[in-house]
Symmetry: C2
Subunit: 168 residues, 2 copies
Amino acid sequence: MTVSKMSDIDQPKRVPPMEAAPEYAALQMGELSELLGYSLKRAQLKVFEDFLRCMAPLQLTPAQFSVLLLLDHNPGRNQTEIANTLGILRPNFVAMLDALESRDLLTRMRSPNDRRSHVLTLTDKGGATLTRAKKLVATKHEARLIELLGPANHVALLGMLAIIAQDF
Amino acid sequence: MTVSKMSDIDQPKRVPPMEAAPEYAALQMGELSELLGYSLKRAQLKVFEDFLRCMAPLQLTPAQFSVLLLLDHNPGRNQTEIANTLGILRPNFVAMLDALESRDLLTRMRSPNDRRSHVLTLTDKGGATLTRAKKLVATKHEARLIELLGPANHVALLGMLAIIAQDF
DNA sequence: TATTGTTATACTCTATAACTATA
DNA sequence: TATAGTTATAGAGTATAACAATA
């Protein structure tokens, strides 16, 4: 960031490129603008990007956050149940839990009822981290989204996305 | 699919699990239902899945379709311009173009003006494929989405996603 | 025999550095 | 020197098969 004193003479400043201006004319998007999948993908990338920025102090990805949240609301569940609910395949869930467990955010315990399965539980640190994470998401991340769209549109958007996710 | 004759006696049929029913009670989603990024991701996966199904006869992915569409609307552009517009990194664009070119859907030609750059052009086969693809998308894919949401909601959804993709 | 967690593996996407040929 | 296309490579994310322990 360049800082200049108020007394400096005016610079012959050209139009400042706001965000990495290309040297060529913008392309025609054609039917792409009306293609829901395209906008959906682009919007999702932006939202995840912002989520990661807001969550940087806690170093949690969207997927990791969703696991902690689900554990908090569903104590006593095993790996298969949590993974299935989040659309994560069991083999891929193993390394993810290894990472969270090594950070002391959750524990795996053999179930006394069925010694094949692991009961997943948030640790105290995991609970505290989740609390801080939810606060960051609400105040930094979602607040900005609601401001951008307006509260009514935000709710409508959530509703439509839920319909697509469930019924399409 | 099991076929039984009309004259067969009634089977003691249990409740048929509609879509891969889990053996355990559904989990509490907690704040996840209100998290835009989560619904966005889930909806995007569903929409891409359906896109691939509808496009199966033409064997085009969403990304490949977007390239063909952009070439059709922006003749004479080079790889960097197309890739940048679609958010594809130039190194990753190479293999993608190799695949489309080997299927004779587009051509790379050295530009006479600047012999470093390749002008990308749809072949006749590429144009015909794009036409068929657009028809499939409109009649099979988007038609179902519009039916699910209603035309007004569909337009509103597109608008909100565009706002997020651009301004968030 | 079936299921839970796990390992191994592979394939796609994405991201960065560096080369070449041109400018 | 800078840019366009390319190569090589590494890291996520995602997918399937198969094994050990347990039911």
